[in-house]
Amino acid sequence: QDFIAGIPREEALIIQGPAAQNAEWFNLWAPGGGASNNGLQQLTADTFWFINPDGTGDAAWTNALASDKPIYNEDFTEMTVKLKEGIYWSDGVEFTADDVVYTVQTQMANPGMGWSAPFTVNVESVEATDRNTVVFTLNAPNSRFHTLFTVRWNAAWIMPKHVFEQVEDPLTYNNNPPVSLSAYQLHSYDSAGNWVIWKLRDDWERTSIGMTLSEAPEVKYVVYRNAGNPDARVIEQMNHNLDVINDIAPEGMFTIARDAGENTKYWFPGFPFAHPDPTLPSVLFNHQREPFADKDVRWALALLIDIRSVSMGSYRGAANLAALSTPPTGTAITDYYVPMQDWLANFELDTGDGAIKPYDPTISEQIAALVKPQWGDSIPSDTEELKRMFGFGWWKQDPAAATALLQKAGFSKNGNQWLKPDGTPFTIKLMVEGDNIPTLARAGTIIAQQWSMEGIQTTVDVAGPTNGQRLGGGDFDVAIYWTVETWGGHPDLSFFLESYHSDFIKQPGETQPPRNLTRWEDERLDAIIEANRTVNFDSPEVAQLGMDYLKLAVEEMPFIPLMAYNKFAPFDTTYWTGYPSAADPYSASGPFWSNLRYMIVALKAAQ
C-alpha cells in the first residue's frame, strides 16, 4: 500500500509541517488565516521580489512578479514597479497590475488584515498606470518601501482580485480552495490539520517561477506533513517517510548522520551539519532595568562567558559563533566579518584597570579541537574553512577584566557573591523560551551556570508561550533570544535596524515593537539609522553604515551576540536529490522559508 493514499511516493516530496489548527482556512491575508508554514505561502503565493538569505551579491536577488528592481523617484516618495507578462492565476485568470492595486487598497480599507497597517502607514495612493505598471505614492520618503514586497521569509503577497471582489468580508472569508499564483496548487488537506498536499499546476509555466525553468519540475506533489515530536520526526525520516526535517536537536541530527548516513544530506557535508539562519541569538539585556543600563556591567557579563562551553552545550559544538551584531551568514561574511577582523583584533576595552584586547580569533580552532575526538577526520584542518563552520572569533573569557569592570561600575564582592552598588546581591533571572527553541534554553543554562560560578546567582526562567509577550513588554532582566535578523543575502541592515530608532522606544511596561527588545537607546545609533534611510538600498554606503553600527554595538555591547541560529535540517535522499547545501546555496534550506520553492522545482528524482 502507498504511504500516501493514491499518490506514488516517488512523485511526492514530504516536508515537515506544523499541526494546523484551522485547517480549512487558506486566507493568507486574514489574521490567523491558515497556518503559515504548511505550503500555502511557500507554494501558492507570489509577490514582486525574493532575496535568498544564503545567496551573495546579485545571485541573491530574484525578480518574481516584477520584471525588474524597484524604481524610486529622487526623494523616495514614489516607487514604480514593472510587472512580468504572461502570468496567470491557477483558475486561468490573468494576473495584472489591478491585482496589486486591489491588494493594497483592500488591506488599507480593512484594518486587521495582515499588511493593512504597513500599507496605511506608508501609502498615500497606489495606481496602475497600465496593465503592467504600478505606481505607489508614499506618505513620506522611504527608500526601503520595496522591502514590504520582498520575500526573505515572507512579504506582502498579492491577492486575487477576481476572487476577493466577490467576497463580502475579506477578513472572514476562508478562501478555500485558494487560487494559486505560483507553480503548485492545493490538492487535498486533512481537516484535522496534520497534512496538506499541493500538486504541480498543469500550467506551471504560466507562473513567475515556472517561466524561468527549462523543463517541468519533477516533484509532482509536495506534502506538508506534521510528523509529530522531534523523536518521531527523526524516526520518520529514517523510515523514509519524511524527506525534509526542519528543526531537531543536535543529538537527533547526529543520530540520523550515524544511522542513516547514506540516505541523508545536510547543509554541510558532515559536522556541523546545520544551516545557519540569518538570525542572531543573543543575550538580551533590558536597558530599562538596573544595572543593565550600564555598559560596563554588560561587558563584564560578556567576559564571564566561556563561549566554548556555550557552543558545546547548546549545539554540541555545531554552532556558528558571532562576535558582531549581525548573523555570520550569506553576504555578511564578505561584507562585514572578513573586513572587520582587524578592527576586532585591535579593539581595546577600558576595564577601569587598564585596557585589554578581548577578541579571540582562534576560537574556531579551539572548538575544532574540542569536537575532534568525536568527529575525527571529518573536521577539516584549514582555518578558513573552520571559520565558516564555527565562526570567526569571539571574546575570551576573562574573569579578571570582568571583575575590574564590575568594580568600575560600583559593584563589590562579598565572598563569592557580587553585590550591587546599593549593597544588595547581584542576581539575575535569565529568561529563555524553552521547548520551542531548545538550543537556546540549553545555552541559557550554561551561561547561568557560568555567571553563578563567578558570583552572580543566575536562575533560568522558562517563559514558554509567554516569551514573546514578556520580551515585548520588557518584563525580563536578561533573556536569550534574537533581536537581529537580516536579509542574509543583502548587506542592508534596515531589516531590523529601522525599528531600533529611539523614536520607537516605549516606556517600561508598554509593549515595544518587534526587534529592539533590549530598548537600547543611543544618539549615535539614531544617526546611523537616519543616514541609512536616505541612501539607496543597493548603494555601497549601506555596508559602510552597517559597519558603523557593528562597531558601535561592540563598544556598547547592548546585547551579547552569541551565534547564528543554526538549524538542523537533514534531507532524505531516498527519493530526491539535488538539495541546497553550503557548497551550493541556491536556496534556503528550511521548509518554512518561502524561497523554498526554488529548491522544490530544482529537485531531481533519485531513481
Partner: protein
Amino acid sequence: MFKILRDMLRYNIEFAIGFVLTLSIFLFALAHFWAPLPDTAIYLLPPDMPPSAQYWFGTTSRGQDVLWQMSSAIWNTMLFGLTVTVLSRLLAVAVGMLSGYLGGRWDQALMTLNDTMIALPNIPILLLVYFVMRDSMSWPVLAATAALLGWNYDARLIRSVTLSLRNREFTRHAVFAGMSVPQILVRQHLPYVMPVIFFTAMNNLIWAIGLEVTLSVLGFSDINRPTIGGMIYWANQHQAIIAGIWWWIAFPIIAVVLLFLGLFLLAISVNEYIDPRSRLSRMGA
C-alpha cells in the same frame, strides 16, 4: 512504635521487602545532600558516557552523573508528591468526614463543591494556573494547586465510610457521651478511615508524580530543579532515546517503579495492620 516496626519486619515478608526497598531509595535520595557536585551543575563531566565503573548509571548529554541527578530528582519529586498527597489527604479527610457525618445541607454543599472539583479538568486548569503564576510558580504553589485538584474522588470514598459509621451505635453513644463533632470524627471514626487514607494515598502519589512528569514534558516546569519529570524533559530535549542514551531515562524510571513497589508493599501490609477488621481479630474481639 519501634516494637511495631520490629514485629512487622519480622513477621511480614511483604512489609520487610517494602521497607527495605523504600528505605534504600529514600537513603539513595537523601544521599544527594552529599553529592560531589551541585545538582544543577552541567557540562562538568564528559557527556553521554554509558554506565561504567566510574559512572555507574552513565552520564547525561548535559555532562551530569545520572546517579546523582536521580538522587536529587527522586528527592525533589517525592517531596512534591508527598506534599500533594498530604495536603490532598487532609482536604479529602476533612471534607469527606464532615460531609458524611454532618449530612443534610452540609453534605449537599460539600458534595456540590466536590462534584465541581471532579468536573474541573486537571491538566488545563493546572496549565492555566501555571501561566497565571508564572515567575511566582514554585513547586510548593504547584503542589498546593495539584492538591486542590486531587482530593475529590477520595473525599467521596471517605464520605461513604463515614456515612456507614454514622449509623453505628457507638457513634450515637458518643454523642450522648457529650463528645463534640471533632472528637467523634478524630477519636472514633478516623481509625476506620485510616485504611482508606493509606490506600488512596498511594494512588494519589502516583497521580501527583504523573502530573509532574506531564507538566514537565509539556515544558511547564522549573528546569533549574532536578525532578523525575525534569530529567525526562532534558532527556527529551536531547532526544536521548533516539540517540541511544537510554540510561538517562531508564534508571530513573526503574527507581520510581521500585519505589512504588516498595511503597505499595508497605501500604498493603500497614493497611493489614491498621485495618479495623484485622485489628479487631488481633485484639481478639
